[in-house]
Structure formats: structure tokens, C-alpha cells
Amino acid sequence: MTEDNTAPIIEFSNVAKRFGPLTVLDDFNFTVRKGEKVTLIGPSGSGKSTVLRILMTLEPFQDGRLTLSGMSYHEPNGKGPFKASERHLRQIRTHVGMVFQSFNLFPHMTVLRNVVEAPLRVLGIARAEAECRALQLLDMVGLADKKDFYPSQLSGGQQQRVAIARALAMRPRVLLFDEPTSALDPQLVGEVLSVIRGLAHEHDLTMLLVTHEMRFAREVSDRVCFFDKGRICEQGAPDEIFGAPREARTREFLSSVLA
């Protein structure tokens, strides 16, 4: 909408990522604009999760340059696998949040505590305020009445909605979703997708979503990127990718998943 929204918030330039001898990303280039909703699709092992995990600083990368809001992940004299100090990585993490396929809620904490913990410890927000905001978020995902439950007492869909509220409580500018519905029973997928759909309307929030829910991808994203062997083989507006894919690999993949 605003001019600001056309500025790139994420920029991968010639990034290389290797796991030992295995090269997962090679000369990888990828730009995301502020507020954009981008879906990553592609076959298993093509590097979709790796891209999100690098952005979340869960995985280091070896070569090239990655910036978030202009801030480089690698520091000029950065040491260790991340080529950056812990302090610098924490600075980056203040802008990014992630929702995992397996939810990764903290099983020993109630739903409310799961959501409140990081704002309390990391952002230093007062408890009353943190709880108030957590309840708003839980209300938004439809689970305010479950605030005193433990994760094990919730269904998978409910757990994933709590995980989304927990990620949002840190007020990220970029929210990453790695197959958020893949671990769910089919009848629970809808409730999670509808929460994500709601977020897609927040136009300051940049979203990267890895999913196999093609219809959903088409509906919520501004752009779809088809990954193949560590490269973006084809990208474009959802109607282009799903309606008239140019690359043979894309057509092949889509026909296999839509079949």
C-alpha cells in the first residue's frame, strides 16, 4: 500500500548453504518485500525449510549475503558457524518469528504461560500487560478459554493455534510458517488455516509459508515460489503459477500434488 511496503525486507544474495558435503542452496537469490505474503512450494528436500531455518538463525549459511531490514546476518568479523555474535543474532531474532510443523509448545507450561514466557523474559514486559496481550492473542485464535490447559490437553489444531499466538506475542515483522498443518489430522487443518488467513490481512506483517495446501496457497499469497533442487525454479502470482506454469518441472510437481 504505502511506499514503504515496496522496500525489500528480506534479501538473499548468492547464498550458499551446505551440510557437510551436501549442497542444499547454491547461489541462492530471493527477495521479499515488506508486508508480502510468499508461499514456498516444491518437492521434498528442495530446500524450503532450510530457507526458513536460515532466516530464523536456526541454521548458519556459508557464503553470500542475507539481510533483514537492511541488517546483514553475517558480521564483518563475525566468528563461529553463524559468522556473527550471539548478541547480533538476538538482534535479528527480534524481527522474526516461526511456527513449526510440530508446534513445539512447551509441554510443562500452560497455554497462557507458553504465550507470556518470552514477552516477559525477553521483551521485559510487565506481567499484567503481557498476560492481557496474551489473552487478546489467544482470543484471536479462538482459545482464550483454554488458557489454563496444558498442551497435552489440546488437539493438534489447538496446539498449533497457540503456537501462532505465542509467535505473534513477540511482535515479529516477519513470520515464518514451516508446514504448519502437515502434522494435523485432516479435519483439524481448516481451523489453523483460517487463523493464518486472518493474519494474511495484516499488511505490515511479512509472511513466508511453506505448505502443501495448494488451494490455500493460491488463496492467501501474493506470490508463490516453486523450489526445485535448492533453487527457485519459477515464481509469480498464484494465478500464474497454478493457472499457467511456464516450467515443465512446475507442471510436473503441481500435477503430482493436485492429483
Binding site: 536456526l58 538476538r90 512447551f106 514466557e117 509467535a167
Partner: protein, 230 residues
């Protein structure tokens, strides 16, 4: 303190009742030593486990060497070392403290492995979630990882507590007057060892049984998912 006593060795019953008060005094020393030793082992063992997992190789390696050394040398050697060698460096500790420290050090090496196993058994996704929420490594340990490790480590910790209680008699060699040392001294004076040693053995058996039962209940009472530490 024993010179004033005359022990009535006419029957095993009179003998037992006459030495019981002094054995019970020894029991309190035994319990205090075990409690202090175990407290040291719990705290220091955690420190060892965390240092051993440090990303700085110099730290993790040094810790590994220390732990390995403590584990692989006899408690008696460590005890004598603390008792006779430390004073040469001007560090003079009361015998009781020296004993508790020796027990604590050796068992810290054991408990550190228990902690390490418990910590490593926590799902990797928990670390990833903690990182994604921007918790520091220390916060992740304290609020997320260790609370989930606790229910898993309680059984092994309990076994070490029982083992440690049974090792307290070794402290008598550095003049700590715990139960076993007292029983031995009584025997030396009366030339009747059977009753005092049996009595001490039975008390140890009772202690061990009580501990095991208590641990069993604790284990059942702990929530499996973990307990928040704050």
C-alpha cells in the same frame, strides 16, 4: 566424648540399648554429610553438565577432563587429598566439610552425566522454539530445557543418593564421627563388634529403604512433562 561411657555387653539387648544413643548421634552426622554431599553434587553436577556443553571448546574440554578425573579416581584418594594436601596450600577445612566436599565432588561427576543425558533427551524442537522466541541460552536452559529434564533424571539421581549414603562410612578415615566410625570405635573398646556393626547395618538398610520409597513417590508425583522452575 566416649570415655565417660561404660557399655553393658551382658546381653545383646543391653548392649544395643546402651550404645544406641551414641549410634544415633552418629546417624545425624551421617545424614548431614549425605545431605551436604548430595547438595554439592546436585549443584556442581549441573554446573559441570552445562560447562561441558559449552560452545567454547576450551571450556567443554577442560570440564570433561575434570569430570573424568573425579569419576575415575577412588573416593578415598580424593578424600585424603583434600584432607592432607589442601592445608599445605593454606586451605584448612573442618573434617566434616572436607568429607562432604569429597563426596560432593565425586558424585558431581556422576550427576553431571545424568544431567547431560536428561538435557540431551529433551526434543530439539524445544531448543528451536526457545531460539525462535529469542530466549538466551541461559533462559532456555532454566525455563525450557532443565524443567523438562527433571522428571527424567530423578530416578538416576535417587540411585546416586542411595549410593552416596552407603559411602559415608569412608569419612570416618578423616575423623568424621559418623555412625560407622562410632560403631568401630565401640567395637575396639569392648572387643564385641557383632552388635554395633549389625545395628549400623540395619540402620543403613532402613535409610536406603526409606529413600527408595520416598523417591518412588516423588517420581510418581512429578508431572511427566516437567516442572517450571519459576
Amino acid at each position: 566424648m566416649m570415655y565417660g561411657y561404660e557399655w553393658d555387653t551382658t546381653t545383646w539387648l543391653t548392649y544395643t540399648t546402651s550404645i544406641l544413643p551414641i549410634i544415633l548421634i552418629g546417624l545425624t552426622v551421617t545424614l548431614k554429610a549425605a545431605a551436604a554431599g548430595f547438595a554439592i553434587a546436585l549443584v556442581l553436577g549441573l554446573a559441570f553438565a552445562l560447562l561441558r556443553r559449552s560452545r567454547l571448546i576450551a571450556i567443554s574440554w577442560t570440564t570433561a577432563v575434570i569430570v573424568e578425573f573425579l569419576r575415575d579416581t577412588p573416593l578415598l584418594v580424593q578424600l585424603f587429598f583434600l584432607y592432607y594436601v589442601l592445608p599445605e596450600f593454606g586451605i584448612v577445612l573442618p573434617a566434616f566439610l572436607t568429607g562432604a566436599l569429597a563426596l560432593g565432588l565425586q558424585y558431581a561427576a556422576y550427576t553431571s552425566e545424568v544431567y547431560r543425558g536428561g538435557i540431551e533427551a529433551v526434543a530439539r524442537g524445544q531448543w528451536e522454539a526457545a531460539t525462535a522466541l529469542n530466549l538466551t541460552r541461559m533462559q532456555a536452559y532454566r525455563d525450557i530445557i532443565i524443567p523438562q529434564a527433571i522428571p527424567r533424571i530423578v530416578p538416576a539421581m535417587g540411585n546416586y543418593l542411595v549410593a552416596m549414603i552407603k559411602e559415608t562410612p569412608v569419612l570416618s578415615v578423616v575423623t568424621v564421627m559418623e555412625m560407622m566410625g562410632l560403631a568401630n570405635m565401640i567395637g575396639e573398646r569392648t572387643f564385641e563388634y557383632l552388635v554395633p556393626l549389625t545395628l549400623v547395618g540395619l540402620i543403613f538398610l532402613l535409610l536406603t529403604l526409606i529413600c527408595s520409597a520416598g523417591l518412588h513417590r516423588l517420581q510418581k508425583a512429578l508431572p511427566k512433562a516437567g516442572i517450571p522452575l519459576r
